[in-house]
Symmetry: C3
């Protein structure tokens, strides 16, 4: 968008810069006005983001210490969400519920952005807790899967900006959480990341696949998903599964903050709507198949062979732990 | 497609070469015949390209000097379309109308291909002219947006081959025009290119996004659109937003010509239908949502906050120009 | 998927490894159980793969010598399918029928995977045999195209793992066959690969395009398809049209085997369903447009200009062979 009549050649070099609103008032007005650009189906979204324009002074009040998720806001107004369910942040119903509630808190409190990380020195998240699948109470199992879907809707489709500081292994569901963010900085060294569901005889749901296909190429996603590939940090960087390699957790968080700072002068509403228009298709896909997706998971759990397989897996883990 | 019975091992090395028709008569026949490969919905397209088989001798008659677009055909039979609305080729209704008409001329006159460039030494096109959006006459605003859609349909979906010689900055609508071509050579140095709409509080329409997602990866497109990224020439080359870096405008045009020469021995109709089959999805998407897309734009303009934001922006530009 | 309660920090480093089932019994159970993850529309698929869990002892019985396709199983239990229709493996109805039948044999006999290669020292496959298109019997032509579709459905949508050892030129249909596999190792040197249909005045069907767009980027696919690009081996590796460069045929086959070995500890059913979920969209697209796709091909053959073009092409080939 340029304004030709009042421009002369001398202002051309500052073309891009001049597009940045110079006052916060102007930014707010521009953001507000952009509301009209959305399609009707974006109506609910509009309400969710309508107040997301600036960091509110009340934001530090959001800090909370839950048993499984620590949510604080640092001096820059960035929310840090730390998963802290030892030893490996396995995603059980309780942890998923706390993540879901914490995502609501970040949305309500108008944070400038959120960084997802882990309290473990070696694991970002080990993925879904198989104890939620072994001899399950079906009512709880349904709540478990529905909550996982909720977490993905809230994280992948958040109006606030998101980044993952991946400070440990991130298999399966751990990889999904990080891919649902807008940016990934991962601590270098021995850690690995990937959707390795097939190794356990499991098929990743279509929305896991969709999320990966919008992070790396379809070709690389097919290779990774079928071979249960756990990427080293270098491999992940090369195919853009992660965006940067960090030296340690603090560095990963700093790199995420540097990413979030890019939005400082971008009107938040225009940013949020742009993000959601880009992510509209996979979100709509799960919205329309949500119930079928739950039923698929429950049928899977009811299969005696699945239960037998899980029992053997749990026995193997116990023996390993006993050594 | 090979013919086994009459081949022996000695002709194998010239396999690819033998696929190239050796006479223009043959090429014409092959092109004609390829008509039957298209689907019924491609019927209108077929008519549009049915005469696009060879450079007609009449092609130099196309040369014309409009006030805002210069259209000439060079000695190689390539049409050069130069945007010349000083100072920064802001896309107002008049310029868009001339571009639209010029694209019709290129299509009618069976050019061997078209190169889009700018008369400005520093700006390819600054994008949409915000004076078309500030306190607009609604009838004119509707014509403005409809004409922009027309230009995209005609350029992105052209049956003739297209390339952009990007000899200056190309933000927002300027980036869109270049991405709608089939090839991009950009003059190196300080120039930048990108869809930076969010910086102004604006959301790029879905068809801008679709066009970018078919040029660079979805991952890179999301990053670029949400952060309003203006790519340096080196960054643009790395993620394939542009295809080549040129030393100056003449070099950029030469590189575009070299690209267009690749089609010399390709039957034009098969080439055109292949291009349009590849681009069918985004074109169909806008065709089916065209009216909604216009209404979205008009609603946006009717919002008082939008008008307020535009006024502030124009004031800022005026003050900058006055210094 | 991790099990937190029984884990401590010492077992974290073996996180990925611990996901690999340690006994074949467990793998079988896990595979079986994964059946429940599929959607209803995957029902037929389920039957096709339900027995694909392990290499059956009977697998060597599959070896057969057809006139046009040689199918053997090596000591590692991998099926090697060799196209052997001299001189250039042009795909006529007879060859396509044998390929189709051989793919059924591999599926029935629970092979650990299949490698597709050629008996020719210089051509993988020259693509469709134009003698099937020149003055055709329409009933045979319909069978020809339907069989080509069948081969693609069976190869692109196979439940067993596939790789192509590309030991020679692979234009048009030859490129399609290799892209339909899950991995490509190509012998280096002078050989080329690509969908070069436009050079003959032909438009590649949409499912050829879909297959390429899921192998390389859409941007590169458009460039390649419109320019009839035959990639050198180095170019093909760079844009990921192939995965590896081999020194000779034996090396190409070894590289394919190394790829197939990655699936040794992956439960085959979970692998198969994951592959098919990833490939679901293009498969569904052709399933729903299959009849229209046949009619398009037949209309193409009925066009007198097409027949004239083919006659000229055949004459040119005959003259070349006579020299």
């Amino acid at each position: 968008m340029g304004r030709a009549l009042v421009w002369d050649a001398t202002c051309v070099d500052s073309l891009a810069a001049s597009h940045l609103p110079s006052t916060s008032q102007k930014a707010a007005a521009a953001a507000e006005s952009a509301q009209m650009l959305k399609r009707p189906k974006m109506f609910l979204l509009r309400q969710a983001v309508s107040n997301a324009r600036q960091l509110a002074p009340s934001v530090r009040a959001m800090s909370s210490k839950g048993p499984l998720v620590d949510l604080t806001v640092d001096n820059d107004g960035v929310a840090i969400m730390t998963l802290q369910r030892p030893p490996v942040n396995s995603l059980n119903l309780d942890l998923l519920k706390e993540i879901s509630k914490s995502l609501d808190d970040v949305a309500k409190n108008k944070s400038r952005g959120m960084i997802l990380t882990s309290s473990s020195p070696t694991v970002f998240s080990a993925g879904l807790d198989i104890m939620e699948m072994y001899k399950p109470d079906m009512k709880r199992a349904e709540e478990f899967w529905t909550t996982l879907q909720d977490v993905w809707f809230k994280l992948y489709g958040s109006s606030f900006a998101t980044a993952a500081a991946i400070n440990g292994h991130a298999p399966a569901g751990g990889c999904l959480l990080s891919m649902s963010c807008e940016y990934r900085a991962m601590v270098g060294g021995k850690f690995t990341i990937g959707l390795n569901e097939t190794a356990l005889g499991i098929v990743a749901p279509k929305w896991f696949m969709d999320t990966m296909c919008r992070t790396i190429s379809m070709r690389q996603a097919e290779l990774a998903l079928t071979t249960a590939k756990m990427f080293t940090v270098d491999e992940a960087l090369k195919c853009e599964l992660i965006d940067e390699i960090a030296t340690d957790k603090a560095d990963a968080i700093n790199k995420c903050k540097t990413f979030l700072k890019k939005f400082e002068k971008i009107p938040p509403l225009a940013r949020a709507i742009t993000k959601l228009k880009m992510r509209e298709e996979p979100i709509k896909n799960l919205q329309t198949s949500r119930q079928a997706d739950v039923q698929e998971f429950l049928s899977f759990l009811k299969n005696p062979k699945v239960q037998q397989s899980l029992e053997m897996y749990i026995q193997a883990l116990k023996q390993k732990a006993a050594k």
